[in-house]
């Protein structure tokens, strides 16, 4: 569709005219005749909702909201075209078969072996070995090898030595969805462990010998403690209500040596609404400080983040400080349980704060343990009541921790944002379906590519320059202050306002420091080489002249260029009052403020918006995928001369 307008949400003056394309996998907006031929690409999988708004004089507005929080405002001149686009997008954004998803057509041009290698990058067996298992207390069990015991669990589960197959099977029958207690994390320093399950089908008075034996087995696997904690991450009221439906929670009287604890985290419906409300705040036009703070509080979002974090801290402390094992569950053990176990693991073990370790953590507690990616993130069209930002909340917890402990993580904010992006993008096969069983049935590993390999290849973009493996922050457990610490939880504008460039610091400290670090390393290496040569030369007794010239070469290199001063920014709309004054003619030029030009240096090649663009075989016919500036897929980027700078004054 031609002559479509793309509006900038923050400043109404920055509207771009261009052509809208719909392909099998993307929506693409290509700006007309701008020097840089800016394109905006959006994967259908990313589309969360499409809203057709009332027709105005300029055309029919169409608002596309994405799961990665990008909001695209288009204005299509003809109502008929707008309607067609709307209907098409609705269908395209709601696939019914897995084969419709991008990961099945995405081609990064790797051969079969490379694809396989990519999938092998994260190996959970290796991970449990790293923890020290199998050992005297824990073993691997193949009781679920055909998914016969629990179809949402992996084929390989780790259980206490004293848990026989009989106990496991018996316990699984007493657990919602058959999700029996299994190992999530083992602390070899003191034998305490974190196990996870779903709620017991205890109702008001039901008991199950095998389930009680299972918990005893967990306790016995830790000789250092004579009891275990059982943590129910639901609000007490909800858990109690579940009893009326024949489910519920563990009765301390029936299970010997357990200490039961509720840590109330709200359910998926509350979380879905919370995010919705927060995004509404983000969409407010020119909100006051009041609007923003009230809106944010009403959404309850940060309160929920803190609740998840507090639960993780409780468990981490139980394991590291008290040396007591913990069994965690919620209702079905695949949402709050996953969040809380992975936060606790991250706090306890510095390995999970490395890039590789974090990938392993997600594979372990989310992918292998059957978190319902399809239902929660809408790979396929499904029940809207199943949609909920569960993993988003976990990822945000990690970000909040990164803000409190800037030296503790090997990876940076960009890493987290790209992972979140790809959970929704379905460009890679890691986060498809609802369980390992489903993924194996679809032969995901043979037909799609692994995100981890892709991220690993580009790991230079994801490093945190402040991370040092021998730093005090990277050793041992992390304990965020629990109270009073409400203020420590910040609004993550890097995620929820990701595409509004005007909001963020223009200059990335992370990127600058990484560049400094790299250059320092290179210089140090060079210095070593030169020092060696110098030694050799001195040994062979050459004349002074040669030595002098080498020293001169060395000093040339030592000035680090910080030439990013040319990054200018432009003022936002501070006032509408200057309207009646004649503005300067744009041709008077804004040389000093010429806005950010998209060059290869500024763009990160690993940015998912770019990688989507660079795929030749995604079904785009008439567009050459490579635009000269390297993609320009970051919407609302200031590119080229901001020639209608002064338009808002007119």
């Amino acid at each position: 569709v031609e002559n479509v307008w793309l509006l900038d949400r923050l400043s109404s003056r920055k509207a771009a005219l261009g052509t809208l394309y719909l392909t099998a996998t993307h929506v693409i907006f290509a700006e007309n005749g701008s020097e840089t031929r800016k394109e905006t690409w959006v994967l259908h999988s990313q589309i969360s909702s499409i809203e057709k708004q009332a027709t105005t004089a300029t055309g029919c507005p169409l608002l596309i909201r994405c799961k990665n929080f990008q909001v695209i405002q288009l204005v299509i001149p003809q109502e008929r075209d707008c309607h067609d686009v709307y209907i098409s997008l609705i269908r395209l954004a709601r696939p019914v078969k897995y084969e419709e998803l991008y990961c099945f057509s995405f081609n990064p041009k790797l051969d079969k072996e490379e694809r396989e290698q990519g999938w092998k990058l994260v190996d959970l067996n290796e991970e449990y070995n790293r923890m020290g298992i199998p050992n005297n207390y824990w073993q691997i069990s193949d009781v679920n090898r055909d998914y016969g015991v629990c179809d949402s669990y992996p084929t390989e589960v780790y259980v206490p030595k004293s848990a026989t197959a009989h106990i496991i099977v018996g316990s699984s029958k007493f657990r919602s969805r058959r999700r029996f207690p299994a190992l999530s994390y083992y602390c070899k320093d003191n034998n305490a462990s974190i196990c996870r399950s779903s709620q017991p089908l205890s109702g008001f008075s039901a008991r199950c010998l095998e389930d009680e034996q299972m918990l005893q087995a967990i306790r016995k696997a830790n000789p250092g403690s004579d009891f275990i904690y059982v943590v129910d991450t639901r609000p007490k009221l909800n858990a109690m209500a579940n009893r009326a439906a024949g489910k519920g929670y563990e009765n301390e009287d029936n299970y010997s040596n357990i200490k039961f604890q509720f840590i109330g985290i709200e359910n998926i419906h509350v979380m879905r609404n919370s995010l919705q409300k927060m995004l509404e705040v983000c969409e407010l036009k020119s909100p006051s400080m009041s609007d923003f703070l009230w809106g944010l509080e009403n959404s309850g979002w940060l309160k929920h983040i803190k609740a998840i974090m507090d639960a993780g801290i409780f468990i981490a402390k139980a394991v590291a400080e008290e040396g007591v094992s913990v069994l965690v569950h919620c209702s079905d053990g695949w949402d709050r349980t996953a969040q809380v176990c992975s936060v606790a693991s991250l706090l306890l073990d510095p390995y999970y704060r490395t890039m590789k370790g974090f990938m392993v953590l997600i594979e372990k507690d989310w992918v292998s343990f059957g978190h319902k990616f399809n239902h929660r993130y809408g790979n396929l069209d499904g029940d809207p009541k199943e949609i909920s930002p569960v993993i988003d909340q976990f990822i945000e917890c990690v970000w909040q921790l990164m803000e409190q402990f800037p030296c503790a993580f090997e990876f940076n904010e960009r890493f987290l944002i790209h992972i979140q992006h790809h959970i929704y993008s379905c460009q890679f096969g890691n986060f498809l379906c609802n369980s390992q069983k489903e993924r194996r049935e679809l032969r995901i590993q043979e037909r799609t590519y692994s995100l981890w390999a892709h991220l690993w290849k580009n790991r230079a973009d994801y490093l945190n320059p402040l991370y040092r493996s021998h730093h005090s922050q990277t050793q041992g457990a992390l304990y965020p202050q629990m109270a009073p610490c409400n203020f420590l939880y910040k609004f993550w504008s890097g995620m929820y306002n990701r595409f509004e460039k005007g909001l963020h610091p223009r200059q990335s400290v992370t990127d600058y420091l990484m560049a400094v670090k790299e250059e320092t390393q290179q210089l140090e290496e060079e210095l070593e080489v030169l020092a060696e040569r110098l030694e050799n030369l001195q040994k062979s007794q050459l004349n002074d002249n040669k030595v002098k010239s080498m020293q001169q070469d060395r000093s040339k290199h030592l000035g680090l260029s910080t030439s990013n001063n040319s990054l200018a920014n432009t003022p936002q709309e501070y006032s509408s009052d200057l309207k009646s004054f004649p503005s300067r003619s744009p041709s008077q030029g804004d040389e000093e403020d010429s806005a950010l030009i998209l060059t290869q240096d500024n763009l990160k090649s690993s940015d998912p918006d770019l990688s989507a663009n660079s795929d030749q075989e995604s079904g785009v016919e008439d567009l050459s995928c490579r635009s000269p500036s390297g993609g320009g897929c970051l919407p609302s980027e200031d590119s080229g001369k901001d020639s209608d700078e002064a338009v808002f004054l007119a």
Partner: protein, 334 residues
């Protein structure tokens, strides 16, 4: 950019040819200028009843007046006190923290101050027009706006020495009454009539700028905290008294004349800060000269609570300090 106090128009619309001529000298024939009045239109009108007022359009035809009400005086001090109370309140749940923060209104004041300063800067830089800034007395919100606008516009105000010069010029010499304004701070129950944290508001805005432009200020947060401390209680004479006259000639205390003779009897804070040994800790390791204008975002998401100040004694800054030490190490290593 000019600054002044309000014109004494009064209820009878007095005029003063000399004042009109003075303002006229900065404008060329046919050129227009802006007056940014830091009071609301209503407040400015009401000021006429007590002898003050605004520049009437008919007498100052070349000037366009814009009102940008900025909080000052008792309400600003209340805002500060409430915020400090909220920060110290260990009983607040996450449920109610943000609304409590909002009810203090401090962040709204920060937003308003930055927006107004940006407006002034925009007039100068984008419109290439002259600007006159004033409120009532010209000693509080006026200085806030002119000082911030200069930091936004002028890279030399972002260097350590340039910033000190800015403070001397726009706050100290310009006559911000430090003695009255920075008296007991937030914990006092005295509720002094003349006390108001304008200077702190300025420092908070500076911190917001440093967060949004981490490479563009030569000095670090530590300098801002030190300035905050010294404005209220100092071993140095820099922030003493209320104006140059008092610092030089003295002030009446009761019936006696108190000879301050600040320059003869005290040491300058700047002299101490600028010593090579001391200076290091006030510098920003990421600084690199940025010749351009820096336009901050004043969206609510971009304005954050200054944790380093308001939670200074409440939470450990250990991890953040370690991060800065690491940054220092990386930059020096190059």
């Amino acid at each position: 950019m000019l600054r002044s106090s309000q014109p004494l128009t009064g209820p009878n619309r007095k005029r003063c040819r000399e004042d009109e001529m003075l303002l006229g000298t900065v404008l060329d024939e046919g050129e227009r200028g802006f007056i940014i009045d830091t009071r609301s239109a209503q407040a400015a009108k009401q000021a006429r009843m007590t002898g003050g007022g605004t520049e009437p359009k008919s007498f100052y035809p070349q000037w366009r007046r814009l009102h940008r009400p900025l909080e000052r005086g008792r309400p600003l001090q209340e805002s500060f006190t409430k915020l400090v109370e909220a920060c110290n309140d260990t009983s607040i749940n996450m449920d109610r923290w943000l609304s409590r923060l909002e009810s203090c209104r401090w962040l709204s004041h920060v937003k308003a101050a930055l927006s107004t300063a940006c407006l002034a800067a925009q007039c100068l830089d984008r419109e290439e027009a002259n600007v006159l800034v004033h409120g009532a007395e010209g000693t509080d919100t006026t200085l806030l706006v002119t000082a911030l606008a200069q930091v936004i516009l002028d890279p030399s105000c972002r260097t350590l020495t340039g910033f000190q010069g800015l403070l001397e010029r726009e706050w100290i010499e310009a006559g911000h009454p430090f003695h009255l304004r920075c008296a007991r701070s937030a914990y006092s129950h005295a509720r002094l009539k003349q006390e108001a944290p304008l200077f702190l508001l300025f420092l908070d805005c500076m911190w917001q700028l440093s967060r949004q432009f981490p490479f563009s200020l030569e000095f670090s947060e530590r300098l801002l905290l030190t300035l905050f401390d010294n404005a209220y209680a100092s071993a140095y004479g820099t922030f003493l008294c209320n104006n140059e006259k008092e610092r030089r000639v003295g002030r009446e205390v009761g019936t006696a004349l108190c000879l301050c003779k600040v320059k003869e009897s005290t040491h300058s804070l700047w002299a101490w800060l600028n010593q090579p040994g001391e200076k290091q800790q006030y510098l920003n390791p990421l600084y690199s000269h940025n010749a351009l204008v820096i336009w901050p975002s004043v969206e609510p998401q971009s304005i954050q609570l200054w944790q380093g100040l308001f939670f200074r004694w409440i939470r450990s800054s250990q991890y953040l300090d370690e991060a800065w030490a690491e940054i220092q190490r990386l930059v020096e290593g190059s």
